[in-house]
Symmetry: none
Subunit: 217 residues, 4 copies
DNA sequence: AATGAATGAGCTTTCATTCAT
DNA sequence: GATGAATGAAAGCTCATTCAT
């Protein structure tokens, strides 16, 4: 799965030309936003944690909202990551690849992503319901693209007969529920380092593909 | 499935002896909290919407936090509803019942619950990550009870051979992901009244039981 | 000195026809006023401590100020006590009495009074600088009367040659400083039950009469 | 007695590096605190009188209490002034000095001090009974030091036979009562500019040394 | 680029007081 | 006479933002 992380890492480091103070501000903001939520975080608190004067924050970000967007907008693209990467979907053309391997790739990749970006993801997810601007950006630029691509893939695998004939929306919803359920559970609710992660992924994939029904031929 | 809603409805209406002003406050608070989030909601806004003086809020709820808890604490019990109802799990003793019918009952029941309590549920879910007290109450009093009961059910159906042999935690996680994914999608993300709900439930249940794999015997 | 306390006690119990609740309110108010000061005391706190509803306070005392005055106005008369008592100054006609015995009587009597009314006295003294009404009442009705009487006594003893020839104001000020210094020190600053009170009174009287100078004939 | 005021004046002006606004705030606060008392003074009133925004007060003093302490804590040291000054007590080594000249020096010095700092002293004295923190600081840092020094002086003069043999505590209490009585009367209760101050001081000192007894050799 | 004093609107909360019951 | 729900003004304090340096 290395192709993902390589590509992602280059994406992640798109931030250039930031002064050290600016980096401190971003870092502090991420930490406090994720801990207390955007509205409950004061700029003075961020300034203190970042070790800068309050004015400095507003020199770089016109408003507190701007600071939030500066943090979270780039995250959106990264969160949706694999779904918009051309290379990922080229695996469809590879005769050895399957729906299962596609979803598994996405799952493993998102697990790793979240492990590195838990705070960012928490902010994004929990502020989206309240920040119209965030929601709009997310829906327009991110979800829509991912939906189109994933739908194409599902259409393809349905046609191939690899997955069951059913409205794509339902299949997509079920697949995403399973993937998101897996990562949310393991990264946010029940972080257990003693767990064998690979086995858990295997189980999730098995349930995704075959369901809970015991009687299999 | 009527037994659920009947039982639930009686549970829901446990609020007694509230003055009209108090009801207005609660109603206004729920509406604004769910729209803007707890921290971004001002008590003066609530007072205005409720048609009471600001002091009146604090006569009934010592702090803004107390108001939140007064709203959300009872909701917790209701949200987890079916999992703690004795009657629900007695269906296990009924030879005609199955894991499928149990999960379907929960799913349908929660869909209906959310349709009536969308705002409350939104507040609860989105504030829990920030309100230690909420998290604590939820984990201690709610989740733990539900987990124990669901685990027992899963153990039972595994033994019966109705569902696949696998760690209960994984089965539970997968089942809940599927149920929660379904309700969140249909109640929060993509409310589409033209959709045939029963068919969607059928599809979700089919995917839960048999997965996406097309090739079935 | 019993004549004082007897007379005083009858004065003290001038409160008649108070309901129990009213007594509770007064008692609670005295306690909290003396502990935190008038302005820093809330009526709700008084109500709680008195075990009555907030409204009840305002049924008996139109405002918080009125409550203060109801407490403190009668105290003023009591505080100044001995100076306005006819009997006390009749001792002047008694050939066995002297300035020394007069001041000693006052001192002993005020010590006893304060021991019983520490809280009331504290309120009166510390609120007077801020409550114009109190100050006015105190100056007009109390101080002036006491001044006239004391001045008369001092004039008498000066004439008799028992005390030094000096402006009465200075003698009065010095005498009162000594008496007040004694009672404030022993009742408010340095309450020490192990101290032999009578001896301390003797010392104070000796200093008052003869000063600190060592060489006495 | 000039050595006192010189030394004191330098002590008084220890406030440095305050912005003009900050000075305004302190000045306004002193004025209103002394007029109405701490608890009855609102920060908005102070802000208005100081000509600053209310927020500005809280930028410099975290709480209203802090503002009080910022005003009054330095005053404590100044109030007790002469008792902690080394030079004052060196007069004991000067063969021409006496208890009388020591007390007279303190009295004159404190009269002058109060003439300049009436408001500060009023605040300090009247808030101390309610502000635990003030009381603590006063007792620990101020009173104790003054007591030790004064006790030493009294011991010395007792041994010399200049003042009467009696427990130091009683002598101290009497001396302080006389001094405090003098300054309180003349600076707070009965400010009369037509009075010949020096003569009044002479009278007080005479009474302190020889008492009221008429028969002097 | 960075500061931090200053702002004034707005926050949560408390308060003395009123009034229907 | 007593209650306690209700009030609205004002309290202390915080906030995002501005601006002179």
């Amino acid at each position: 799965m290395d192709e993902f992380s390589t590509i992602l890492d280059t994406l992640i480091d798109e931030q250039e030309s930031l002064t050290q103070k600016q980096r401190n501000i971003l870092e502090a903001a991420v930490e406090i936003f994720s801990e207390k939520g955007f509205a409950a975080t004061s700029t003075s608190e961020i300034a203190k944690k970042a070790g800068v004067a309050e004015g400095t924050i507003f020199r770089h970000y016109r408003t507190k909202q701007d600071l939030l967007l500066a943090i979270v907008a780039p995250t959106m693209a990264k969160l949706i990551g694999p779904f918009v990467l051309k290379d990922v979907f080229n695996i469809m053309d590879n005769p050895n690849h399957s729906y299962e391997s596609l979803v598994r790739a996405i799952l493993v990749n998102r697990l790793e992503f979240l492990r590195k970006n838990r705070m960012l993801a928490k902010i994004l997810i929990l502020e989206m319901p309240y920040q119209e601007e965030l929601k709009r950006q997310f829906m327009e630029h991110i979800i829509e693209k991912a939906r189109v691509r994933l739908e194409k893939a599902i259409g393809h695998y349905k046609q191939e007969g690899e997955i069951v004939e059913m409205p794509s929306q339902s299949l997509m919803r079920f697949t995403l529920s399973t993937v998101i359920g897996h990562v949310v559970f393991h990264e946010f609710l029940f972080r257990d380092p003693s767990l064998n992660e690979e086995e858990e992924v295997d189980r999730t994939m098995s349930l995704l593909m075959y369901g809970v029904k015991g009687k299999r031929e």
